[in-house]
Point group: C2
Chain length 331, copies 2
């Protein structure tokens, strides 16, 4: 198996991306990796002797984290994400992994790979830690605005296959994000989506869930339209930032706080490890005709290694076929 | 001025509600208060000698926190929120305040008081702490599903008057919640709302903001439809719960953690006070033809006292007139 890694994408690229690739191989990862990006810095990071199973593919350009993705991809043919995605299209790689601009990864996947036949709109998974100690899959986290109830049904089906294949969850439960638990809650779209989900016998539909149920891990999958999902995921991230900053500055910041921090080190580590989503934050874009794994822009080496593992599992479990068949046979 | 207080609404009713009313008066609050609810427990809590400025109005029933609001109100004529809201309708009180079932407060307001002429749909404010140390007004937090761009424009106008009158903010800034900052982001409704907000010269429109910008305090007002607002507010609350639990149990839970907690007491207090939204969490329902202030179900005495103060300010600053005039003259 060969996996193309966008070496230039993410806040800590290329350093942590290259380190992540090396880590993946050191830990015995079986896939060959192709690091795509600017040759000089990548080769410098790899050192004089490049370990076996790692090669470099030159791409001069990068799509910046704040750039308009589609425009950047159309204007510049030689971006790392564009080249890496094209490798999948041309059978030179089995999957692509990127910590870069999510919009660019998505745009590249849609432009270059296209959609899976029978799937109308793509969806982005946001994988979140929950108080139950297992991750929840929030989708769509921003791929499809104005999703209708039929899109939502397809999202739920795709996410079910994804959670089965990649996270080994049998009959993952699906919750429809809504403003209350009762079936009659929500707007027109939610009412229609509730009816469709309830009627889908191939799904393990739980019913409506509320915004706060996502972190409670009430269901394995939390499905909503891409607008709501994106706003919700970013809103929750904003609260995390507030607390992390508050814990760091207010609670453990002053001289006394520093002492308290030393004493509480074990507890802080415990909390951190419970919130650690490195192993599962990465997920393939669902609905595109190829494996394109998106990971967090903040990814460091370990998260990159895990993202490569997700790509590997998606290929080896034949996730793409399952997505196509699952949705087509149900329809 | 006379304010009706729903003594039976909220997780800590009637104890903390009655204590809040007493606190309001003790601190020199000028308004007369009418505690509405079951007479026996209320009178017991008030003690043998009821302080001047406080009276009791009997209402036998309560709408439970998990009851279907409209159904409960229609079936039982003698609920505390129903009676308290009717007092406003009949001029026996200038405002009503409740920590009870928000849906019931809203339903009572709409059924009994109706809407302000010219305002098509009501909106609920969610008042949130921000890292800037000032509150942000998130609306609509769940009153109106399927809001269209015209509703959004009215929400922005109502919230602007509210933030001016109640929180003394001059020309409050308005952000439209979206999936990115660029004007072309979002779904159909957001595109249309952006155009309307940008064209409204009476508003201080900032532009699009993202989910994480709410807690960053980028704008004074964060406007969205009631579905997104509700999911976002509850999602953020869910993350708060995760952190509060994690700080309590993981970090300061064990024997060493307890020692650390004692040493960090000052810092913990600092962080708490920065997150303390007692003073501003309460807000009137915007768009209904009477002052009906909603506060958090978790309200204790101090939050109730502050909620009564918000009601008092809404009446004394003639918020209702401003809402009606502001929206009508702009239209």
């Amino acid at each position: 198996m060969k996996i193309a890694v966008d070496a230039m994408g993410g806040d800590h690229a290329p350093d942590e991306i290259v380190r992540g690739a090396l880590l993946y191989r050191e830990k015995g990862g079986p896939s060959d990796l192709v690091l795509v990006g600017r040759e000089d810095p990548i080769r410098k990071l790899l050192g004089a002797e490049i370990p076996p199973g790692i090669t470099v593919r030159a791409a001069k350009d990068v799509v910046g984290m704040d750039e308009h993705p589609a425009t950047a991809l159309r204007r510049r043919a030689d971006t790392s994400i564009g080249v890496a995605t094209a490798m999948v299209k041309h059978g030179e790689a089995d999957a692509v992994v990127s910590a870069g601009n999510t919009g660019a990864t998505m745009a590249a996947a849609l432009l270059v790979l296209g959609r899976i036949r029978g799937i109308d709109r793509p969806a982005l998974c946001g994988m979140l830690p929950t108080t139950k100690g297992k991750p929840a899959c929030l989708l769509d986290a921003g791929a499809t605005m104005d999703a209708d109830e039929h899109n939502i049904l397809q999202f739920a089906r795709m996410a079910s296959r994804f959670m089965e294949k990649i996270h080994g969850i049998d009959r993952p439960s699906v919750g429809l994000i809504n403003v209350g638990e009762e079936p009659e809650k929500g707007g027109r779209m939610q009412l229609a989506a509730h009816a469709l989900l309830e009627g889908a016998e191939d799904l393990n539909f739980y019913g409506n869930i509320e915004g706060r149920d996502v972190t409670r891990g009430i269901t394995d999958i939390c499905v909503t339209d891409g607008f709501t999902g994106n706003v919700l995921a970013k809103g929750m991230e904003g609260v995390v930032d507030v607390f992390v900053e508050g814990i760091r500055r207010d609670i453990f910041g002053g001289p006394l706080g520093k002492v308290a921090g030393l004493i509480a080190l074990g507890g802080i580590a415990k909390f951190r490890s419970r919130m650690d989503y490195d192993p599962y934050v990465s997920a393939p874009l669902l609905g595109v005709a190829g494996i394109s794994v998106v990971t967090h822009g903040r990814a460091r080496a370990n998260m990159m290694r895990r993202a490569i593992e997700v790509a590997e599992r998606a290929v080896s479990t034949r996730l793409l076929d399952a997505l196509g068949e699952g949705v087509a046979s149900a329809a």
